[in-house]
């Protein structure tokens, strides 16, 4: 490690950096003790800590169903968004004209438009096809919200891709499909995975669209949380939040470990 100078201005900077971090994390962290309260209302536990709300959560069929709904929708939407977004990005990259640049810009629109406007549009459209409050309807909407992230990260990966690799594959006898499958896809795989990650988070996290187009038969976790804070403020919400944070944290840790493992492998091979 490098020994950093501890001048006065450096100490001030460090102080503000910590303030910044606390500002980001305190609201999250405060949820954790709340979830262990023995009381039936939102409060910080005193000397007694209880797992009662976690037990309620697991025992409650509606919470379990919501978790399942969230998972089904997020995985399906991620798969669809990743497939379509990757195909779209590769298509634009292959054609590479003014028109394809315009098409790529259009694909990013769902990010720019406020979710609530989007949601209203989805509601209007899905009603026509009687798809409101169905898995299929929610998956379509979440797919469309996820596509832009995939297009962005795959396009970025393609921008760094050496065009000669594809040419080499073609020259060696592979047709375009085969060249894309065997050469282009493996090269841009990290970009595809990054896009998939963001698409997943987008779906997992969505409340606004769910409020408009789902609720009874299909009810995701964010929607369920929303409902339960509206009725009465149940500490079970804090338990859900804590569990969600734990799951996300595990995901990030696994990702970081894989990355470190790959980097170590690369170094070993190169050396």
């Amino acid at each position: 490690m490098i020994e950093l100078p501890t001048s006065r201005s450096f100490q001030v900077t460090t102080f503000w950096a910590w303030i910044g971090l606390l500002f980001l994390f305190l609201p999250l962290i405060v949820i954790v003790p709340v979830s262990f309260t023995p009381n039936r209302w939102l409060s910080l536990p005193g000397t007694d800590w209880s797992l009662q709300h976690y037990a309620d959560l697991i025992g409650d069929e509606t919470w379990r169903r919501s978790a399942l709904d969230s998972a089904i929708i997020a995985f399906a939407a991620t798969f669809a968004a990743t497939t379509l977004g990757t195909i779209g990005a590769i298509g634009c990259w292959r054609v590479s004209s003014g028109l394809s640049d315009a098409a790529r810009a259009l694909m990013l629109v769902p990010i720019v438009i406020p979710s609530i406007v989007d949601a209203l549009g989805f509601y209007q459209a899905l009603v026509q096809f009687r798809l409101t409050d169905t898995y299929f309807g929610v998956i379509i909407a979440h797919t469309m919200k996820g596509i832009p992230y995939v297009v962005i990260s795959v396009s970025a990966a393609l921008a760094n891709f050496d065009l000669r690799l594809e040419q080499a594959a073609r020259g060696l006898g592979a047709n375009m499909m085969l060249a894309v499958r065997r050469i282009v896809l493996p090269a841009i795989w990290p970009g595809i995975m990054a896009g998939a990650f963001f698409a997943f988070i987008t779906s997992w996290d969505d409340l606004v669209i769910n409020l408009f187009i789902a609720g009874r038969r299909v009810s995701t976790l964010p929607r369920r949380i929303w409902n339960s804070i509206q009725d009465n403020i149940d500490p079970a919400v804090a338990s859900v939040a804590t569990l969600l944070m734990l799951v996300t944290l595990c995901g990030i840790l696994v990702y970081l470990m894989l990355e470190r493992h790959n980097a170590a492998l690369d170094q070993k091979e190169a050396g």
């Binding site: 050496d162 073609r170 020259g171 060696l172 592979a174």
Partner: protein, 377 residues
């Protein structure tokens, strides 16, 4: 490289691993324009089977665009490309059966060396067992037999170059295209690989099309060199034809070094003419239109000598040494004539063991057939 035991690629090889014979190629009035700008302008070239042809030109001369059209990555705006009398102008690259070595090699980074070499056989749906044995043979021949399981990034530049070559030859292409394949190698390795490529070409009898901006590579390996400039063919011929008889100032300057002597024709003589350059009258063999016309002569530095007292040459000048450098094999001198014209000359050290001092006055001279008259362009 491949030089052990008479060259391993070119040496004792098992039957039917590497291609034999080769394709004839004809470009007929081929042009390519990008938004109204002609990158390649009405180029016609005919290549015989087994020829080693180099497309030589500075950057922007259209040589790479031409190669990309032959390979099928770029479609010509006009003209036809014929491979063994088959019109392939609009054929996609995968249907042309051409081997290509890219600049920077374009090895697939996520595949091993063996995976890279197997790729063209896999896409041809060859049985797995045959692929394995062929890949092993070819890697053996380029002396990479033990490195099949390595990844490209773990190899040196020279090794990567051999993988690219093995991959381009393993499926027996009709033609081998090479796009500046030596530009990433260091100088000494480059000289070795030039020899090896030449030997490989002789051995395989395959048609080679080689693209480079390096005149030395072009001269050392090719059967024929096509010089390109601004998308057009300026001159084509054997390396010695181009070097000895350049038709334009550009060719004389681009292939090797030249002094350019602008003169005014004085009189026509039997077998030649005399012309004036400043205060001096000089002689040159060859035909010239009429007295009074302007002429431009290209004169190679190595054809000029330092004249000693006992020698007499048709063209002699007194000049002052301005600068000189020593390269081991030769002295390169820069001299000023009495008319303040600069001339550079190369004197082999076996002829002249010490170099004249800067400021010293010497007599330089050349034969009446040493220069060649070229077009100003």
């Amino acid at each position: 490289m491949f030089q052990h035991a008479g060259g391993s690629i070119s040496g004792a090889e098992p039957a039917n691993t590497l291609p034999r014979g080769g394709g004839a190629l004809r470009l007929h009035q081929v042009s390519k324009s990008y938004g109204g700008i002609l990158a390649v302008d009405d180029v016609s070239i005919a290549l015989a089977r087994g020829e080693f042809v180099t497309l030589l030109g500075p950057s922007g001369s259209g040589k790479t665009t031409l190669l990309m059209m032959i390979a099928g990555f770029v479609t010509p705006t006009n003209g036809e490309i014929l491979l063994d009398d088959r019109n392939v102008t609009t054929e996609p690259p995968e249907n042309r059966n051409l081997g290509m070595v890219f600049q920077g090699y374009a090895l697939f980074p996520h595949m091993t060396v063996a995976g890279n070499v197997a790729f063209p056989l896999e896409v041809r749906k060859m049985p797995k067992s045959e692929i394995d044995s062929r890949v092993r043979q070819v890697l053996e021949q380029v002396q990479l037999g033990s490195l099949g399981s390595r990844y490209p990034r773990q190899l040196s530049g020279g090794q990567q170059q051999r993988v690219a070559l093995a991959r381009a030859l393993v499926f027996m292409p009709d033609l081998l295209l090479l796009d500046e394949p030596l530009s990433a190698l260091d100088r000494k390795l480059r000289a070795d690989v030039q020899l090896e490529l030449k030997a490989l070409h002789r051995r395989l009898g395959l048609t080679f099309i080689y693209v480079t901006h390096d005149q030395e590579e072009a001269l050392s390996m090719s059967d024929r060199v096509v010089v390109l400039r601004n998308g057009r063919i300026v001159q084509q011929g054997t390396p010695s034809e181009l070097y000895e008889r350049p038709r334009t100032r550009f060719v004389a300057d681009f292939l090797g070094k030249s002094n350019f002597v602008p003169g005014l024709v004085e009189s026509i003589r039997p077998n030649g003419f005399s012309y004036r350059w400043g205060q001096t009258t000089l002689f040159q063999t060859g035909k010239m239109a009429k007295p009074g016309s302007r002429v431009l002569l290209a004169l190679r530095p190595e054809k000029i000598e330092i004249v000693t007292a006992d020698r007499r040459l048709p063209n002699q000048l007194t000049a002052t040494v301005v600068n000189w450098t020593y390269t081991g094999a030769a002295f390169h001198l820069l001299v000023n004539t009495r008319d303040e014209n600069q001339i550079s000359l190369t004197v082999p050290t076996w002829r002249q063991s010490t170099c004249p001092e800067v400021g010293e006055e010497i007599t330089i001279g050349w034969d009446s057939n040493a220069a060649v008259s070229v077009d100003e362009d």
